[in-house]
């Protein structure tokens, strides 16, 4: 039926039995005669699914004035009740949409206004919104959904059609989106449909329509959320005397309601939960449907989830070459996405289902079916749509089950709502009916014995094509049928005959009868008697579910190619007879054994006897400490630069580590065991950095180098003065090297004052930016500064001296060789490229002998990558100093191991092969400085994360798993499933200068 037809029928109903629209709105004047009614309805003989775990057969539901008066078996029905017999039908509490924007104003789609600057654009530094609101336009905390809510029957009808009666609605715009309201899907005035004005505070990692530049990155967004929590506390504790801020007031007011957080993937879910725990909050997290990929970690957070049913369509993989572009992770997600709800349920995580994310909300049941086929129980499905949402949003006294006193929002279906062909007939919202289909609608289905005059036929109706078969014949004749209310019209040409038989009659008690005319014009009587009902399909579904279960692939960690089903464990290993590059006074030891255990190096020596250890024959091979990359941007999610302001000391790479980066594995294959993940170089004072260990497969928190003192990225030169944009568009201070000095002078002056105020016990607003700078002044946080030319290097050294802090590292330091003696005197380390130059003006004097000159002048020198590819060949880059400057081989090797370990203050743990240090080791096929050297095995904490032989096996497994999934995809397409075209997805690889706004 077309939607407007349904609407029309609903209107008819309203005209007959419904109270007038204005009934509930007591305050309104009435134009015409008042029509107040009790609206008492009794639904009898129903199967009432009272709640997700309680079903009553042959029961009655009594509702009055939009509330449930009674539910149960053998209830006395008041005389004045309108009795509606719903025999053989089901009544369910209607569903609650927990993540909707029903009835919200449309968000302007114009993106032309978006994009507050970036590398080449003009920045918008503060909010354009008028009034005493947040400085940041993406914080729309003052927005109140209930104030703008306007019922919208067109939208409501779609949701009612799939069983919903209530929506927790909010405007999908901004990082803090303000409050959500609970509303019903009735078409009455907001006065009736508004159930709970302030039901939740909703947040996200997306700026939405904000045109402001800050934040441009996910880490900026997280920092801003963190600062807002602090600001709100400050405001409540007295800050309101210094400034009136309506957004912060709203924020504080909203802290007592549920906090909902919309995330883009499972790792963002973990990030949101982490923010919550920092401020002793608990978020309800609305996921992206890939939660099963990090289920244990999500469970640990204790956050309830709102799950979408956005199961992806299969990819078009018919062309094997094109299909190469589809990643294993996409193929696997296609297969496993429908198992997400059941896996979440099995893990014991509280969850609700949402229609959000569905392209077509009318597909809701189709998707729920898929989830059920993939293992979700009907009980859990129902719970996640009724009781759980009601509980999560404090609606239990009104909604979530069919109990006395609750709102009369329920729907009537012709069978178990999760059966494949179940139909919703009525959806009652707050005691008002919305008719999707007549309760007693004539719908002939099944087999009938038809007698027309003296001829008998067998009719098959409602199962594919309608047909009539003459008795004694096997040829089926196609049959046309029209039903109008109770009247029926049938038309067919019996097989072997020429003319058509036309029958007209009524359907009564499941049988049909009436008058008809044969082809020759003869009038006849006819009857059709039902032969039996159609078989159920629950059994069928069970079978498909079981069949499906068998062929599902494994969840792997990380969820990309080369991920593993089980994470590798630390081993007791004896490397026999290796050439060991100790990086200690022992130098290079020949034919030496190394024993590791419990993640540590246990013993180094000749002929170590360790019978229980796994032995690796290292004859002819070189064993070294793992490579440490001082400068990398792998594993960063959504933006490596927070470049909207000249200082972004408050942002933390630690917040955005992406453990699903294939480059972790690739670099393990290049012998890298630790990597220093840096903020970019778009601003003078960048963000806080994070040292990680390359524990491929582990969650972000477990990749972090334990007990590591914090570092921060600074930058000088062309990037921070925005010289390489198109003609000085930037209005951000500074645009010269002169201004860069001012940024440091200014910020450290303020940071010192901040520290002083703090020490004096003054009431101050906690400022995470100044706190980070204060940590530098106190020697607790260390600087790694992107820098190229000698003038700026010297400038920062002098600035540091003036303000009493140290520059720990100059990174990229390609002109370090010009002022090496000054660096050495200050105690600053240098880390740079081996041979890069001429990509911009400030590297015109870069030379490949830089490291050697710095080292000779007493500077601790390292070679770093800043490049996902080069990082897997850092051993070669180190060797370039041998090639260009005759550096001693051991000294060269230390530039990618011990020197970065010292630079990063972790040399007590890593950087050399020494008893007691972490077993971060690499076994090389050749001298590691040779172009011919290959890492054969790489260990982090004694765990073998890379093995060249295992890698060959994994490639084979990847090929097989892809082949299996491709075959399954092809079959699915053959059976009519929707597909999507192949996409060529490449992972974002960052370098210092990448500054796109990734917060949209």
């Amino acid at each position: 039926m077309r939607p407007n037809m349904r609407f029309f029928i609903a209107l008819l109903w309203a005209a007959v039995i419904l109270p007038p629209l204005s009934k509930a709105q007591k305050t309104f004047p009435q134009n015409g005669v008042f029509d107040e009614r009790e609206s008492l309805f009794a639904f009898t003989n129903a199967t009432i699914v009272k709640s997700w775990n309680e079903k009553l057969d042959n029961a009655t539901l009594l509702i009055r004035n939009g509330r449930i008066e009674a539910v149960g078996v053998g209830i006395t029905i008041p005389k004045d009740a309108v009795v509606i017999d719903v025999k053989k039908k089901y009544i369910y509490p209607s569903f609650i949409e927990t993540f909707g924007n029903y009835g919200m104003p449309e968000i302007p789609a114009s993106t032309a206004q978006r994009g507050g600057g970036g590398f080449f654009g003009r920045e918008q530094f503060v909010s354009n919104k008028k009034g005493a609101y947040s400085w940041n336009e993406a914080f729309k905390t003052e927005f109140k959904a209930h104030e703008v809510f306007a019922p919208n029957d067109k939208e409501a009808e779609i949701l009612r059609g799939v069983g919903f009666g209530t929506v927790v609605t909010h405007q999908l715009d901004g990082i803090s989106r303000g409050s959500a309201a609970v509303v019903s899907l009735s078409d009455e005035r907001a006065h009736t449909s508004l159930i709970k004005p302030v039901a939740a505070h909703v947040m996200s990692f997306s700026k939405g329509t904000s045109t402001q530049t800050y934040p441009t990155s996910l880490m900026g967004c997280i920092a801003l959320l963190r600062q807002t929590y602090l600001d709100a506390q400050w405001y409540a504790n007295g800050g309101s005397k210094e400034e009136k801020n309506l957004s912060l007031e709203a924020w504080n007011a909203l802290q007592s309601v549920p906090q909902v957080f919309d995330v883009g993937d499972k790792l963002e879910a973990l990030r949101a939960a982490k923010i919550a725990s920092e401020f002793s909050k608990k978020f309800i997290i609305k996921g992206r449907g890939d939660d099963y990929q990090r289920l244990n970690e999500l469970k640990t957070t204790g956050s309830p989830l709102i799950l979408p049913l956005n199961f992806p369509d299969a990819y078009d993989v018919e062309d094997p070459i094109d299909a190469l572009q589809v990643a294993l992770s996409d193929l696997k997600h296609w297969e496993l996405a429908p198992t997400n709800p059941s896996r979440v349920a099995a893990a014991g995580i509280d969850f609700a289902l949402t229609t959000n994310g569905l392209r077509n909300k009318a597909d809701f049941f189709k998707q729920v079916q898929k989830a059920i086929e993939a293992g979700l129980t009907e009980g859990d499905a129902l719970k996640s749509l009724t009781a759980t949402p009601a509980r999560l949003f404090g609606l239990e006294s009104d909604l979530g089950s069919l109990d006395r006193g609750k709102i009369a929002s329920f729907f009537i279906s012709d069978k178990n709502i999760f059966a494949k062909d179940a139909k919703i007939l009525h959806n009652w919202v707050q005691g008002r009916p919305y008719v999707l289909s007549d309760l007693d609608k004539v719908d002939p289905k099944g087999t009938y014995n038809l007698t027309v005059g003296n001829q008998n036929y067998v009719l098959s109706l409602g199962r594919g094509e309608n047909t009539a078969t003459k008795s004694g014949d096997s040829t089926k004749a196609k049959l046309d049928m029209t039903v109008l209310k109770n009247s029926i019209n049938i038309l067919f040409t019996p097989s072997g005959e020429k003319g058509m038989i036309r029958l007209s009659g009524v359907v009564e008690n499941g049988n049909m009868s009436g008058r008809g005319q044969l082809a020759d014009g003869t009038w006849v009587n006819w009857q059709a008697e039902a032969k039996g009902a159609s078989a159920g399909n629950d059994e069928e579904r069970k079978n498909t579910a079981e069949a499906k279960k068998e062929e599902l692939g494994d969840v792997i960690y990380p969820f990309i190619a080369y991920g593993r089903k089980e994470l590798p464990k630390s081993e007791r290993v004896l490397f026999k007879n290796a050439t060991v590059w100790t990086n200690e006074t022992d130098g290079i030891l020949q034919a030496t054994d190394v024993l590791i255990e419990g993640g540590k190096i246990l013993q180094i020596g000749k002929n170590i006897d360790a019978s229980t250890a796994k032995t690796v024959d290292a004859t002819g091979k070189h064993l070294t400490a793992g490579i440490i990359d001082e400068h990398s941007h792998i594993t960063v999610a959504r933006g490596v630069n927070e470049g909207a302001q000249s200082s972004s000391a408050e942002v933390r790479i630690a917040d955005v580590i992406n453990c699903d980066d294939i480059n972790i594995y690739r670099q393990l294959a290049g012998g890298v065991t630790s990597s220093h993940i840096l903020h970019g170089s778009a601003n003078s004072i960048g963000g806080q950095t994070q040292l990680i260990k390359m524990r491929f497969g582990y969650e972000p928190e477990k990749m972090k180098f334990e007990n590591w003192p914090g570092y921060i990225k600074f930058a000088l030169g062309e990037n921070v003065k925005r010289a390489n944009g198109d003609g000085g568009v930037s209005s951000r201070f500074p645009i010269t090297r002169m201004g860069v000095e001012q940024v440091f002078d200014d910020h450290f002056t303020r940071a010192r004052e901040y520290l002083n105020a703090q020490k004096a016990g003054k009431f101050i607003r906690r400022d995470l930016e100044l706190e980070a700078l204060g940590e530098i002044l106190e020697g607790k946080r260390h600087i790694t500064c992107h820098s190229y030319v000698q003038s700026e290097i010297n400038m920062l050294l002098k600035t540091a001296d003036r303000h009493g802090f140290k520059v720990n590292t100059f990174t990229h330091i390609l002109e370090g060789y010009k002022v090496a003696e000054k660096m050495a005197k200050h105690g600053a380390a240098g880390a740079g490229f081996a041979d890069w130059w001429n990509y911009k003006y400030e590297v015109y004097d870069a030379i490949p002998q830089n490291a050697k000159l710095m080292q000779d002048a007493g500077v601790l020198a390292s070679i770093n990558s800043d490049d996902a590819e080069m990082a897997r060949r850092l051993n070669q880059e180190a060797a370039k100093s041998v090639m260009y400057a005759n550096m001693d081989e051991v000294a060269a090797w230390k530039m990618v191991t011990l020197n970065p370990a010292r630079t990063l203050r972790v040399d007590s743990r890593v950087g050399s092969v020494k008893v007691g240090k972490d077993a971060d080791l690499v076994l090389w096929s050749h001298n590691p400085l040779s172009i011919y050297a290959k890492a054969e095995q790489t260990y982090v904490d004694g765990v073998k994360f890379f093995d060249r032989q295992e890698d060959v096996k994994m490639q084979d497994e990847i090929r097989k798993e892809r082949a299996r999934l491709v075959q399954k995809t092809l079959l699915s397409k053959k059976s009519g499933a929707a597909t999507q075209p192949v996409q060529r997805r490449t992972q974002r690889l960052y370098d210092c200068e990448d500054e796109d706004d990734e917060m949209r």
């Binding site: 990309i560 294939i662 003696e821 003006y841 070669q876 172009i931 075209p981 996409q983 060529r984 990734e998």
Partner: protein, 435 residues
């Protein structure tokens, strides 16, 4: 306007301010004999104790010290290279060396002309012999380069230069030897904010764009059939020799279908075709082989194209092409990066390519592709004495030290801006007392 003048003045000032280029070498004045080196001939052969003589810029003798019976007295200049290696000078392919000085300084960039169809554009006239970059490249053993324009559908024509000259005319070894086509891309699109990566959809116009290119070439071909066409069309004039195969058609293509369609395109047009890029070439070696198409393999020290790929795929591709019998060369992206060509060859050796095959891939094979193998590309009698002497294996940074280099017998200066700066600041620290 004012700003750009200032910038230009600024740039001029630093170029003038730095040390001038090493002087171009003088012509070979006397016969030179290299003795006792391990000679990597370039055609796959090695002579352990070699004897190589050259005179007037040409190689006169390539032999074995033990068996050779030459008259030593003829040579006043004898280089005893015992323990050293001799290789043909390496050839950089498909590079904008000399067309750009500093990538981010627009004023120094001359590699990409505006417009789509620029077959008549010639790289050679913009090749800057005074660039600071080529001296840093040749000091690593690369002595010739194919200077290649970028951009558009048809970028223009490449020329081969020697990396030691007073001006582009002197530098040119072979003028306008090929036309470069950026073949239509199979996928197009951009950044996908949802996945945080680049998600490209299939280019719906792929076939149409190839047809458009065919149209252009067909007209050029018809034009080429005329002896004195009127009106004269410079674009088609530039393409004339493609159809007589005097010029090579370089098709830049990376994905399987781009490569295969590119090969068929070249065949249909009757051109001598070479694939440049060829990242997925290892997947379609049959069609390359059956059409006798060579591949200039781009940047093999690269990440795999796809997450699921063999993590070492780019490293292994050279060996795979060799095993399939495809003629190929290695090539490095960019300008200053050309000096890493030998290391890229070493990487290929580490991942399965035979050592002498790797030598061929950066010497004789590129010479063949460029059609200059009659005179250069290997250590053979009668060819140019364009060669290098190294202390160790030139493909391994651990051992590589280029001691001497000769271009047509001229011994070239192996210093460069960077060695000068090294010396200058070494002096500074020596004066400070060092450490």
């Amino acid at each position: 306007m004012k700003k750009s003048i200032i910038v230009i003045a600024f740039i001029c000032s630093f170029i003038i301010g730095s040390k001038a280029q090493p002087l171009p070498a003088v012509a070979q004045s006397e016969p030179i004999l290299i003795m006792n080196a391990t000679a990597h001939i370039g055609n796959g052969k090695v002579i352990e104790k070699a004897l190589i003589a050259f005179e007037n810029g040409k190689i006169t003798i390539v032999d074995n010290v033990q068996t050779s019976r030459i008259d030593m007295s003829k040579f006043k200049k004898v280089i005893n290279a015992a323990g050293n290696h001799v290789y043909p000078g390496m050839i950089s392919m498909s590079t904008d060396l000399g067309l750009v000085e500093i990538i981010a300084v627009r004023q120094t960039v001359d590699h990409t002309e505006t417009g789509d169809m620029n077959p008549s554009v010639r790289s050679i006239v913009a090749y800057n012999t005074d660039s600071q970059v080529p001296p840093t490249v040749r000091s690593n053993g690369i002595l010739l380069a194919q200077i290649t324009p970028n951009g558009g559908r048809i970028s223009g024509q490449s020329s081969v230069v020697e990396l030691d000259a007073w001006n582009w005319e002197d530098a040119a070894y072979k003028f306008d030897e090929g036309v470069h086509v950026n073949f239509p891309a199979l996928f197009s699109g951009g950044f996908d904010f949802l996945s945080g990566g680049f998600a490209q959809r299939k280019n719906e116009n792929f076939a149409k764009q190839i047809t458009e290119l065919e149209q252009f070439f067909s007209e050029a071909k018809a034009y080429a059939a005329m002896t004195s066409p009127s009106p004269k069309n410079l674009k088609f004039e530039a393409m004339r020799d493609l159809f007589s195969q005097k010029k090579t058609l370089y098709i830049h293509a990376n994905l399987v279908k781009e490569i295969t369609e590119g090969v068929l395109f070249g065949k249909k047009m009757g051109c001598k075709t070479v694939i440049v890029g060829g990242r997925d070439a290892y997947l379609v070696t049959d069609i390359l082989k059956s059409n006798n198409v060579a591949v200039i393999l781009d940047e093999t020290q690269a990440l795999p194209a796809r997450v699921d790929d063999d993590i070492d795929q780019p490293f292994k591709s050279p060996a795979m092409l060799k095993a399939a019998g495809i003629p190929f060369t290695l090539s490095v992206n960019g300008h200053w990066q050309q000096r890493n060509l030998p290391l890229m060859a070493g990487q290929a050796v580490a991942f399965g390519l035979g050592y002498e095959d790797a030598v061929t891939a950066v010497t004789l094979e590129p010479a063949k592709i460029l059609g200059i193998d009659k005179t250069v590309g290997s250590l053979e009698e009668g060819k140019d004495a364009t060669l290098i002497i190294t202390e160790g294996d030139v493909f391994d940074m651990r051992t590589s030290k280029v001691k001497q280099a000769f271009i047509r017998g001229k011994e070239i200066d192996l210093t460069n801006k960077q060695t000068d700066l090294y010396k200058r600041f070494k002096t500074k620290y020596d004066r400070l007392g060092g450490k």
